[in-house]
Structures are given as C-alpha cells and as structure tokens.
Symmetry: C2
Subunit: 351 residues, 2 copies
C-alpha cells in the first residue's frame, strides 16, 4: 500500500477486507512478532517461557489468552443493551472462542466533556451486570476526558486475560478442521446490526429487535467440556459470512453453506431487504460459529439447544466442496454464490 | 455524589481529586471487587487461584499484574515523542512500578475518518520502537474508525500484562513504608507537561524541552534487583505532587519534601511561572517516585545515576514529619505548605 496522501476511511474500521489490509500494511509491518501474526481473536502467551525476576518459571503449560477491543457504537443505548454491556461481552467472547476461560477485564473510558453522569452510571451498571453474569470481574480501569466535540459521548476499550485450556489450543488455529466437519451457529444472525440500525433510523417494529449482545463463555465452556470442537469464532463486525470466509482462508478448505439453514428472523430479513443489506454480513454480538466432527454434529446441536444462548442453534453447512479456500453459499432459490469478507463498510460504529 | 443533572467535566480526566471521586462514585460503586478496590497502577491477579477447565492450577505464587490506559494527548506529535510512544511507555511503566516484569501489550486504536495513513504509520513505528526498547511486544490489537468530527485524530488504548515478582508484591501497597524512609525521583520534573504546552502554544525555546516519555522497566528492574524498595509509583498526570499526596494518603505517614531538591529545568520553571503553573503538578511520562530505607538511600541514588534514565536522580524528601497523612513542602524561600492532589484540571489531554 502506498501510504502517501492516503487517509483512513470508514471501511478501515469495518472488520472486513479493508481492516485486514490496514492491519497488514501498517501494524503488522511494524509490530513484527509471531504472536500478533497469528491474528486470532486473542493473542496466546506461553507463561512458562517467562521466568520472573528471580528466574522462577510458572508451571509449564500455563498459557494466557489476551484480547482487546474498542467500542464506539452509536447510539450508545439500544434495544437489548448499551455500549457498556457490549464492551464486556465482546471481550469475554473473544477470549472464550479462543479456547480460554476468561479471568479478568480492564475498562478504559474516553468521555466527552458534558456527558451526563447518570448515563455514565447506567453504562457502568450494565457493565457490572454483564461482568457478574459472565463471572469475569473488571479489575483495572482508566478515565480520560476530552473537550466537547472532540469525541462522541463515550468510547470504551476493554481488554481481557484468560487461561487457555491446553486441550483447546488448536481451536483458534483451525488446524484440526477437516473435510466432513460440520458448521453450526448458536442462533439468529444479524440481530445486533438491525437493533442498532433500527434505533438509528427510528424504525418502528411490531416487536422490537433486541441486540443479541451476551457473554458466551458459559455456553462455550459447556460445549467444549462435552464435545470435540475443531474451530470457533464469534461472528461480530462482518457477520457470519466474514467468519466463514476467514475459516476458509485459514484452513484452505472449501466451505459449503446452506442459506436456508442459517437462522434469520423475519423482521431482520425484511429490514435487510429494504436497506439492501445481507443478513449474513450483519453484525452479531452473541453469536459463535463452531466447527465440529461430522459424526458429532447432531449431539452438539442438541447440547447447544439446552443452553439459553443456544436455543436457536442450527447446523448451517459443512467443510468440503469444490473450491478450496472459498465459501460457497447454496441460496434459498437454488443458486450458488461465493461468500467473501465484507469489502467496505456496511454500518459504521456498529460496535 | 448526586448524579442527576451532573455532567462530566474536564477535571474528571485530570488524574487528580475529581478523577478519584468519579472512580469512587461511579465505577467502584458498580464494579465492586477487591482487586479493583486496591486502585494501584496495576491490578494484581493471583493465577494460582484460577484453575483451568480441567481443574489444573498454575504454580502457586504466579501473580499477574494488569494495567490499562487510554491516550488522548493533543497534539499527537510533540517534541520527544508522539501518542504512540507515549501509549507504550505509559502502560509499561504502570506495570513496572507495580513490581512486575511487563510481558506483553495490546493496542486499540480509535481513528477519525480522514486521518492521514502516513501519520498512522509514523505512530505505529514509534510504538514498535518503544516496544522493542522495553522488550515488551505488542501482541494484540483492534482498530475502529469513526466519522470525521466524531473523535480527534486518533486515540490509543494500551493494556499490558506483567509477571509480579513475589519479592516486590509489597511495593504497590506501601505497606513497608516507614518513618525514616527516604524519597527519590529519577530526574527532572515537568518536562512532558511543558513539551506539550510548548507545542500547543507554539512557544519558542532556546533549546526545546523534550517530553521525558520513556519505558522505565529497565531502570526499575536494575534498582529493585540490587536494593530494597518500599514503594514506587510513576508520576504522570498530576505530577510528582499527586504521587506524594497518594503516598501520604495510602500509608497515613507524614511526608516532608524539600522543594529545592526536586530537579526542575530552568526553562520549565520559567514557563510555569509565566502560565501560573506549579512544576510539581506538571505531567511526566518517564518519572518514578521511589521510597527506600533511609540507610540505603545514598547507594540507591548512586545506582540510579549509572542508568541513562536515572542520571539526574535526586533525593527529594523523607517519610516523617508533623502531619500524618499529609505532605509538607519546605519551599525554597524557607516557607512550608501542604501539597495536595491536583484538584481540577491543569492541562487537559496531556496524555
């Protein structure tokens, strides 16, 4: 990338193709280290290789997962949550899908001068509730204030540390994904995106679409304790389609998806049609895509359905097909199309 | 605090009294946990109490330090550094002064649409250089973009994890601080604040005042390996005075400081006089206040002076005096005054 005279565009924050390019061209080119290069949802750090000042090494096998995300969602309050609950669940989920048990979080606030304290209080209350629900305490924080007009109400950055379950260390890499594996998602796609869009555009729904923002660590712990899981990733910015595209890119396997098997609410589908969006690219904040061995898929599906956050789980496709490294979608009307990463920016500031 | 109709003011981000009150009234009231309540530079997490999914506990005694800070400094480029180098050194220092060896960092960027890519590249390069110098890699990151006018150029949040040296676990608590201990600082106070102020006000200096932003983990590791240290804290927002005030509050000891012993550059003193500021409240980004046993102070001072970042170190005062829990400054003209925490906001967006 020629950086001269180029500027940041909204698509650079989409989580899709432009974000990937920006990370590669600017950040990875400078922050050259093997852990960052893995580009998983969390960085994995082998603590055993880090003796303390007195030369004492922690137990061999202790691996930490580490993740960070800034939240700039607009509006900050939306049906089903607010920027605070989102900031907690998002980072908890990044750790959980990496095969780690989330241990603790930090929260750093950048606040606009003049922001109402009662709104900050409501945000903090939502963070505390999400943190309690997930059983992951917020142990460190920071507060910065900028002049009116120099930020938009409040931005929150959460970071989190988890303890990697050694038996799950293959999960972020996708190294065990193999032809014949089956792909599942734990429920309806696109709810978070439509909840934000609806709030922004003051859309009237018969029954309001709530953001699906939720901490998935409980569901994931249950599933991984009982079943073999080959890969997991939470479908956030860029939606289910972007995760599937990343999976195909990472494993070089062909991926085949049945569009009609992906749970999408009628209202979500309707709004997407009106605005010309594809629900598969719509953001989620409580959805995980799992890849499991083909012969265990039905049992995993059953297991997921017993958890409140997996009630609407579905088998959506399989590993295998004609085009290695590509995702082919079998559409509801009998056609086929490739699913690629989100190219530009669909809904800025969705999270 | 009555939150109704109250709004965030710039002073809430000062790092002084108003920040402390905001944290107490909003964040601590909701995020109620014993680790956050310690309010050190880093949170300390005992990993031994955290078995992994299979019930396996890491070695007893493994304690992690965890810290986060958002950087909103304005201007983003200033003499002696930029927002990127600051974001790395600030979090490295927070871990180091807690008695931990910094292991790894994350960096989360909130960027304004239209921000020049070559400036982002320069910032990333400075972060990489600081990270390499400190030997603390940046292993995780995030990028968000907001519309033009919705943030000011770029904000960076860094978080970091360190391994606590068990022999130094008393340092953040101040529990070993005792009457007769001696207080040192590793060099000139107020350089960072004046570098920012000078750039903002386009002041012309004969020789430019450079920010003192630097990673102190090397200096601190050398000192703590050789000498007994009872307390350390980096003097950032709120300056040396705020750290001393926190020390007095934490230990309930009287603190006596000799103003003339605190190294302050002539130019810094001059600019402070013109603007009506006190250099002791001016921000630093490479200064640590240490408390050591009285009989070792001279040796610690000597040791510090052999390190490039401790060349201008000085003994500035002692633990003891008439007013328990208070800091008394013996002024250069022979007077006495109390040093309290920074009350409002002196220079917004100093870091």
């Amino acid at each position: 990338m020629n950086k001269r005279d180029k500027t940041i565009r909204l698509g650079h924050g989409s989580g899709g193709r432009m974000t990937h390019d920006l990370i590669r061209d600017i950040f990875l080119s400078h922050f050259d280290n093997s852990i960052l290069l893995q580009q998983g949802d969390s960085a994995i750090w082998n603590l055993s290789a880090s003796p303390d000042a007195s030369g004492h090494s922690p137990t061999s096998g202790t691996k930490l997962a580490f993740s960070t995300d800034s939240y700039v969602v607009d509006p900050i309050f939306f049906p089903g949550g607010n920027i605070g609950s989102l900031a907690v669940s998002g980072t908890v989920n990044d750790l959980a899908v990496s095969g780690a048990r989330p241990l603790f979080l930090s929260a750093a606030f950048i606040i606009e001068e003049g922001f109402p304290l009662d709104q900050l209080d409501e945000i903090a209350r939502a963070m505390a509730a999400a943190s309690t629900e997930a059983d992951v305490p917020i142990v460190a924080g920071d507060t910065k204030v900028v002049h009116k007009g120099k930020c938009d109400k409040v931005f929150i950055t959460t970071s989190g540390v988890g303890l990697l379950d050694e038996a799950l260390s293959h999960i972020p890499t996708g190294s065990r994904v193999t032809e014949g594996d089956v792909i599942l998602v734990n429920g309806y796609a696109g709810d978070h995106g439509i909840a934000i869009l609806g709030e922004r555009e003051s859309l009237k729904f018969q029954s309001p679409i709530l953001s699906d923002a939720a901490c998935l660590n409980g569901l994931i712990a249950e599933i991984t304790a009982q079943y073999e899981v080959h890969f997991m990733r939470d479908a956030t910015r860029g939606g289910v389609a972007t995760v599937l595209s990343e999976l195909a890119g990472l494993t070089k396997h062909a991926i085949t998806i049945e569009e009609q098997a992906i749970p999408v609410r009628e209202e979500v589908r309707g709004i997407c049609e009106i605005f010309g969006y594809d629900p598969l690219y719509m953001a989620n904040e409580g959805k995980v895509v799992l890849v499991v061995p083909g012969d265990q898929a039905d049992k995993v599906l059953e297991g997921m359905k017993t958890h409140p956050l997996g009630r609407d789980a579905s088998i959506i496709g399989k590993v295998g097909g004609e085009y290695p490294g590509k995702v082919v979608l079998h559409t509801e009307i009998g056609g086929k199309r490739f699913l690629d990463m989100l190219a530009g920016e669909m809904l800025p500031r969705i999270c």
